[in-house]
């Protein structure tokens, strides 16, 4: 039973994330919108690896592509890449303190943006390269907030040391 409600919670968190990614923002703050889907998937894959599979990342990416009108597979590929890296190295990353984890997340989100930008360039879509560095920064902030708020290990860490 607990497992089922857990799954329900995680599925609804994914749908809510998609909704967050599509909520309209005022023009002033829109460029700083964190990549919600990437942030939440990174959170799960670092904190609870194997909770979601790569397939989840793939479908979330496809949903995001449909929602945003991007090339089908663009977000999916970028999400796959960062989730794969996070899951592959989560054992090494687990022992990092928050500051180093945050830097890792920043790098991964930067990679995500870069892949999106790169595919845009290959597909010949004209996309202005303004403020593209903002979403990884705000995303890292959101990720750290999630970590501090929700992860029990963050609170247990002093006791364990």
């Amino acid at each position: 039973m607990a497992a089922r409600s857990n799954w329900l919670a995680s599925i609804s968190s994914l749908v809510a994330t998609l909704a967050l990614a599509a909520v309209p923002l005022p023009n002033v703050v829109a460029p700083a919108r964190p990549d919600w889907v990437a942030v939440v998937l990174l959170y799960w894959s670092l904190m609870a690896p194997r909770h979601f599979s790569l397939l989840t990342a793939f479908w979330m990416g496809i949903a995001l592509d449909t929602l945003t009108g991007a090339l089908l597979g663009q977000n999916a590929l970028a999400l796959l890449l960062i989730v794969y890296l996070a899951e592959k190295f989560h054992l090494q990353l687990r022992v990092f303190p928050l500051s180093q984890l945050a830097i890792t997340v920043l790098l991964l989100l930067g990679l995500y943006e870069f892949v999106l930008f790169w595919i845009d360039g290959m597909a010949g879509r004209t996309v202005p390269l303004v403020e593209r560095w903002l979403p990884p920064l705000t995303g890292t902030l959101v990720w750290s907030a999630l970590y501090v708020l929700f992860d029990r290990r963050a609170r247990e860490a002093p006791a364990r040391l």
Binding site: P24, A30, P31, R33, I62, T66, L67, T68, G69
Partner: protein, 306 residues
């Protein structure tokens, strides 16, 4: 399928290693992108997917549409009366102008008949609501609540009360996606209302500006000129306002001037737009060329038959 083992760190659910699954899915992604690039191979797939994400779109739009209806419900009586009065006056003015327009339209039709050119038939329009969904911040796109069930088609023009808004680029069963005229990938054929000078207005990616990159330094265009859609290209109906020239900067080192215009329609503030169908019965297949060379004779014969 066996339950996922928590301790099978190296192995995934399907028995493949994680690296293999990653590679497989990445290849699927790349194949999808290659197929999607030309926008034709995956039309059905995208339509199906857009139905799947439809609930998310509606859920995101819900608070906004609720806010609008709440505001309408609890609007002050005085405000409503004032608004009503304003609308009534506007309607009177518009109708007066419309009467004159009808006379002109009939006259225009007669003159065109004399010239034996195809008559411009009125167009049909349908109000579409913009779903409050933010798409890619780097592109100027909109989601509309009309789709295949309303006979929306790719390439359909979108206007509002002030002028041309954009065109439909992708149609799903229930929703469709439109690109604004200010998108960096979009261009509208326009002509200057004052003298009929034809050119192309290109989007800048910023919802307040259009560029006219193909006019030379000595082109007859000044700040304040109204740009209307020229109807060339066949997407936008002719004669709708597109924008007004904001700035003309001559660049003496180059042949082309730098001209900026601001869009006529309120792209940022719209909540509803009009989808336009051009009901022009397809121009009857042009008669053979020898006859076409003598339009007056052809016109006369048509008149006799009628």
């Amino acid at each position: 399928m066996s339950a996922p083992g928590r301790n099978s760190v190296g192995l995934g659910r399907s028995g493949f290693s994680m690296g293999a699954r990653f590679l497989l899915l990445a290849i699927v992604c790349i194949a999808l992108m290659l197929l999607d690039r030309r926008e034709q191979h995956l039309v059905r797939v995208r339509q199906a997917l857009s139905v799947v994400v439809y609930p998310v779109r509606v859920a995101v739009d819900l608070p906004f549409s609720m806010w609008h209806s709440l505001r309408d419900t609890f609007a002050e009586r005085d405000a409503l009366i004032a608004e009503n009065r304003l609308f009534r006056r506007e309607r009177l003015e518009t109708e007066a102008r419309l009467q004159r327009l009808e006379v002109l339209e009939r006259e225009n039709g007669r003159l065109r008949e004399l010239l034996d050119s195809t008559a411009r038939v009125g167009s049909r329009a349908l109000v579409a609501e913009i779903l409050s969904v933010d798409l890619d911040p780097y592109r100027q796109r909109l989601d509309l609540n009309r789709g295949l069930v309303d006979n929306v088609f790719v390439g359909q023009a979108l206007i509002d009360a002030q002028g041309v808004v954009g065109q439909v680029v992708r149609v799903g069963p229930l929703t469709s996606e439109a690109v604004l005229i200010t998108d960096a990938d979009h261009a509208v054929p326009v002509s200057v209302n004052r003298n009929g000078l034809r050119t192309i207005a290109v989007g800048t990616g910023d919802s307040g500006h259009l560029r006219l990159p193909y006019l030379t330094n000595n082109a007859d265009i000044v700040v304040g000129d109204l740009l209307i859609s020229s109807g060339l290209g066949g997407v936008f109906p002719a004669g709708y306002p597109v924008g007004r020239v904001l700035e003309v900067r001559l660049r003496h080192e180059q042949a082309f001037a730098e001209i900026l215009a601001e869009p006529a329609s309120s792209l940022d503030r719209d909540r509803e737009v009009l989808l336009v169908w051009n009901d022009t019965e397809e121009a009857p297949p042009e008669t053979t060329s020898p006859e076409a060379e003598e339009p007056p004779a052809a016109a006369a014969s048509v008149a006799e038959v009628d």
